[in-house]
Amino acid sequence: MTEKWIYWFEELSKDSFELVGKKCANLGEMTRAGLPVPPGFALTVDAYTRFMNETGAAGEVRAYVAAVNRQQLTRDERHSRHVRKIVENHELPEDMKLDVSREYGRLCDLVGRPDLPVAVRSSGVASMPGAMETYLNVRGDEQVFTKIVEVWGSSFTHQAVAYRASNGLSIENFPIGVAVMKVVNAKCSGVAMSVHPNTGDRNKMLVEANWGLGEGVVGGAITPDHFVIDRTTGEIQSTISTKTECVLPNGNGTSWQAVETELQACSCVSDDELREIVKLAERLETAYGEPQDIEWVFDRDFALPDSLRVVQTRPAKIAKGADEGSQNQYLIDMLLSSVYHRT
C-alpha cells in the first residue's frame, strides 16, 4: 500500500473527519485557522485497517467475536479485554514503523528535542467521549509504536464495544484515526472568557489560571488566580490566590501534585502572557464571530508568543440581563477599577 496514511495537522481540515477521525480533523481545522494547537500528525483510519489486515489481527478478532454470543460480548468485560489483548499482541509492521519513525523524528526536530514526549490519542469517526484511550508522555520510537497499537486496541474497550452494539455498528471492524502530538510541557494553564460572563461587558475579559495542566482549573477543585483585563486600556486587575496543588503529567496520565511553596502565592501568569491571551481571544472571537470560552496553556518548550497553545474553544455563555443588584455591584466594581485607584 503506497497510499499516504500520515497527515500533519496543517494538511487537514474539518472535512477530513472520514479520513482521520473527528479529533484529528478538528485539530487540523484549528491549525489551518492559525490557532496555536500543539504540533503533530494524524494516522488515517485506513492505517488501522491496514495494520489489522497485515498482522492478521483482523482475522483473529473476527473469529473470537463470531464465537461469542453478542449479548455476552457487551455484558462481560473479559471478552473486550481479550479482544484488546489480541490487537496489542501484534507489532506495527516494519514499513509502517519506518513511516511513523520518520514523522515522529520530524516532530522532535521541530521542537528541537530528541525523544520528544508526545500524546497518542484516539480519533474516532463517531464521537464516543472517554471510550477510547489517550496516552500522555510517550517518548521514543519504540514507545510510540506500542502506544499507537494500544490506541487501536482501545477501540475494543468495553464501553466502545457496548456503544457500537447498542448503535447497531460493526463490533469487530471499527477503524479509528490516531493523533500523535506534542505533549504540552505545561507551565500554567486555564480558561479565558472574551466577554465578562456576569455582565456581558465585551470590553472586559476574564482569565483564570493555575500552575500545570488545565484540569486544575476546569474542574473547580482549587481557587485559581483570577484576572480581569480591560481590552481597551490593557489594564489588568489581578486576584492572586494560594495554589497549593496543580495537575501535572504522571506516567502516561496525570495526577494532582503539590505546588512548590515559593510558587503558591505567585501569579502563575505574567502580564506579557496575559496580553498574549487577550490577543488570542480577540483572534478567536473574530474567527468565530462571537465571544469565546477558551482553554489555553503555556508550554515551557517555546518562547512567547509561541508558548501559548489552545486546547479548546467554544462560544461563551453569559448571564443574560443580570438582575439589578448585580448591575449595581458591577458599576461599583468598575468605579473602583477605573476611577478610584492610583495611577
Binding site: D201, R202, A322, N328, I332, L335, L336, V339, R342
Partner: protein
C-alpha cells in the same frame, strides 16, 4: 492690639514643605485673594468637609486635601493613601457607601437638600435687628455650623458624582470611541432643567413683565446700579419691585462671587439681577434656554436610544444606570453652586453683616465691611461687651495686607519640585475632584490647525464674532448679542449673559466647569483651558471659536 494670624493654617515655608512636595493654588476660588474672614472659613470648613467626606466614604485613594492660606490664596495638597493594605480595607467600606448613590441617587440628594433647606429656613427667619447680642452670637455660630455641614455634604456628593462622570467618560471612549470633545458625547447629557436655569427663567419673565409695564427702556438706558432707585419713582416700577423682592427673598441668596463674603447678595443689592433682566430684554424674543432645552431634550432621547441600541442586551442594564447617574452629575455640578455654596455663604454673610453693623455702632470699627477682616474668635471676644474693644488697628493692618496681596499674583504652585513633577503627582492621585475641577485636561497644541490658541472642548460648535473681555461683573454690561465672551472663568451668577453670547473662551476649566455646562445647555461653542486667552485676545478683536477642535483663531485686530 496685636494682629494675630488668621488661622493655624498659615503657610509655613519650612514645615509645610517637609511632608509635601508641593502646594497648588486654588485659582478657581481664591483669585483674587480672599478676605481674612472668608479665607478663615474656607481653610477651616472646606478642608474639614473634604476630609469628613473622604473619611465617611472611606475613599480608597485619598483622605481629602490639606489646605494652607498664603497671602489670601488657598493652597492645597492631596492626602494620598499609599499603603495597599489600607487601600484594600477602605475599598470594602467604600463599596457599601456607594450603594445608596447607585440605587437611588435622587433620594439621597433630596434627603441632604431637605436637611440644608431646613437650616436655611431657620436662619432666614432669624430677626437680626431685634436680636440681643447673645442671640446674634448664637445665630453666627449656627451659620458657621451650617457652613461646616454644607461642606461635608458638598464633598460627600462631589467625590461620588465626579467619579461617576469620569467612569462615564471612560466607558463612552471604550465602548463607542466617543470622548468629551465630541458633540455626540454631550448630546446624551444635556437638555435637563436645574435650579440655576429656573432662576434664569424667572429673570426672563421679569424682563417680559417690565416690557409689558413699559419699564423696558428704564432697564436698557440706565446702569443697573441706578435701576432700583428709578423703579421706586413710578407706580409701575414699585409694583414690579414688589414682585421682584418676593422672588429675591427665595432665590436672591447669592452674591456675584461665589467664594467670598464681602460682596453683597442680590437681596442687598439687586444690580446684578437687573443686569440679567437687561440682558434678556436686549436679547428679546422667547426664553431661548427653554426652547433650546426642549430641542436638546428631544435630541438627547434620540442619541440615548441610538447608544443603547448599539450595545448587547447584557450590557444595557448597567450602562443605562451609568448614563442616568452621569446625567445627574452634570446637573449636580451646576446646581450645587446655587443650593450649597451660594446659599450658605449668603446666610453666613447675613450673620456677619449683622455683627458688622453692631460693631460699628459700638465703635469697635468704622465700616460694616470691616467685619470681613476679622476672624470669628475676634468677634466672639468682643461680642458681649463691644464698647470695651477697639479693633480698628487689626482691621487697618489686615486691609493693608489684603490690598497688597491683590497687587502681586500668588504663584500657581509653591514647592520643592518642578511644576511638571508636582502636576504628575497630582494626576496620579486620580482624585476625581482634582481632575475635574483643579487640573482640567491639558490642551494639546495642534500646529496643523494654525490657530492662535489651543484649548479643550467645553461645548461643540464653531462661531465667529467680536471678542468681549469680561474680567469682572462690571464688564458684563458691555456684552452685546453675538459677542464671544473671553474671561479667566465664568461664574454661576453669569448664566443670563449666555443668552446673548455667540461663544465663550475661558483661560481655565474642565468638562464639569461652569462655562462648559452652561455653554452646552445654551448650545453655544465653548473652548476652555487656553491659559492665555485674556492676555492674547484683545477686546473687540474678531475671533473664531472652534468648540469641536478646541481652538481659537484671531481673524483681525
Amino acid at each position: 492690639m496685636r494682629t494675630y494670624e488668621i488661622t493655624p493654617f498659615e503657610f509655613d515655608e519650612t514645615a509645610d514643605l517637609q511632608k509635601y512636595d508641593a502646594w497648588f493654588l486654588d485659582g478657581t476660588h481664591s483669585v483674587p485673594p480672599w478676605t481674612p474672614m472668608f479665607g478663615w472659613s474656607w481653610i477651616n470648613y472646606c478642608r474639614h468637609g473634604m476630609m469628613w467626606a473622604a473619611q465617611k466614604l472611606q475613599l480608597p485613594t485619598c483622605k481629602g486635601w490639606d489646605w494652607r492660606l498664603h497671602r489670601g490664596g488657598g493652597y492645597l495638597a492631596v492626602l494620598v493613601v499609599d499603603d495597599p493594605g489600607e487601600i484594600a480595607a477602605r475599598e470594602q467600606v467604600f463599596r457599601k457607601q456607594l450603594e445608596p448613590f447607585i440605587e437611588d441617587y435622587d433620594a439621597v440628594w433630596q434627603k441632604h437638600l431637605d436637611e440644608l433647606q431646613g437650616y436655611y429656613g431657620t436662619l432666614k427667619a432669624f430677626d437680626i435687628d431685634s436680636a440681643t447680642n447673645i442671640e446674634l452670637l448664637d445665630h453666627m455660630e449656627d451659620a458657621f455650623r451650617l457652613n461646616r455641614r454644607m461642606w461635608e455634604i458638598h464633598f460627600y456628593f462631589m467625590y461620588v458624582v465626579f467619579g461617576v462622570y469620569m467612569l462615564f467618560e471612560a466607558m463612552m471612549k471604550q465602548m463607542f470611541g466617543i470622548d468629551d470633545s465630541s458633540p455626540e458625547f454631550h448630546k446624551v447629557l444635556t437638555g435637563f432643567d436645574n435650579k440655576v436655569f429656573q432662576v434664569d427663567k424667572k429673570l426672563w419673565e421679569f424682563g417680559k413683565k417690565a416690557q409689558a409695564m413699559g419699564l423696558d427702556s428704564l432697564f436698557m438706558n440706565n446702569p443697573p446700579e441706578r435701576v432700583g432707585d428709578l423703579l421706586e419713582q413710578t407706580e409701575a416700577g414699585r409694583l414690579w419691585l414688589a414682585d421682584f423682592r418676593e422672588f429675591l427673598s427665595e432665590d436672591g441668596w447669592r452674591s456675584q462671587r461665589m467664594s467670598e463674603f464681602i460682596n453683597p447678595t442680590w437681596i442687598e443689592n439687586p444690580a446684578p439681577a437687573y443686569m440679567s433682566v437687561r440682558q434678556f430684554l436686549q436679547k428679546g424674543g422667547d426664553f431661548d434656554l427653554e426652547r433650546e432645552r426642549a430641542r436638546l431634550g428631544a435630541e438627547r432621547q434620540r442619541a440615548e436610544k441610538e447608544l443603547l441600541d448599539g450595545i448587547p442586551d447584557e450590557q444595557r442594564g448597567w450602562f443605562t444606570k451609568l448614563l442616568r447617574l452621569a446625567q445627574r452629575s452634570g446637573s449636580f455640578s451646576e446646581e450645587h453652586n446655587h443650593w450649597l455654596d451660594l446659599y450658605t455663604h449668603a446666610l453666613v454673610r447675613r450673620a456677619l453683616v449683622g455683627w458688622g453693623e453692631r460693631l460699628v455702632a459700638a465703635g469697635v470699627m468704622d465700616r460694616v465691611e470691616d467685619v470681613f477682616f476679622l476672624i470669628p474668635d475676634e468677634i466672639r471676644r468682643v461680642a458681649l461687651a463691644p464698647e470695651w474693644h477697639d479693633l480698628r488697628d487689626v482691621v487697618a493692618d489686615r486691609r493693608a495686607e489684603w490690598a497688597a496681596w491683590a497687587e502681586e499674583e500668588n504663584p500657581p504652585m509653591i514647592g520643592r519640585v518642578t511644576l511638571e513633577e508636582a502636576m504628575g503627582t497630582l494626576i496620579r492621585s486620580n482624585d476625581p475632584v482634582v481632575l475635574k475641577v483643579v487640573v482640567g485636561s491639558l490642551p494639546v497644541p495642534k500646529p496643523e490647525l494654525k490657530a492662535d490658541l489651543y484649548g479643550t472642548c467645553g461645548s461643540p460648535g464653531v462661531v465667529e464674532g467680536r471678542a468681549r473681555m469680561v474680567m469682572t461683573d462690571a464688564d458684563l454690561i458691555n456684552v452685546e448679542e453675538g459677542d464671544i465672551l473671553v474671561a479667566p472663568a465664568t461664574y454661576p451668577s453669569w448664566t443670563a449673559v449666555f443668552a446673548l453670547l455667540g461663544g465663550v473662551v475661558v483661560d481655565r476649566g474642565a468638562s464639569l466647569s461652569h462655562a462648559a455646562i452652561v455653554g452646552r445647555e445654551y448650545g453655544i461653542p465653548v473652548v476652555m483651558n487656553v491659559f492665555e486667552g485674556t492676555k492674547v485676545i484683545k477686546d473687540g478683536m474678531r475671533i473664531r471659536v472652534d468648540g469641536n477642535m478646541g481652538t481659537v483663531t484671531i481673524l483681525n485686530d
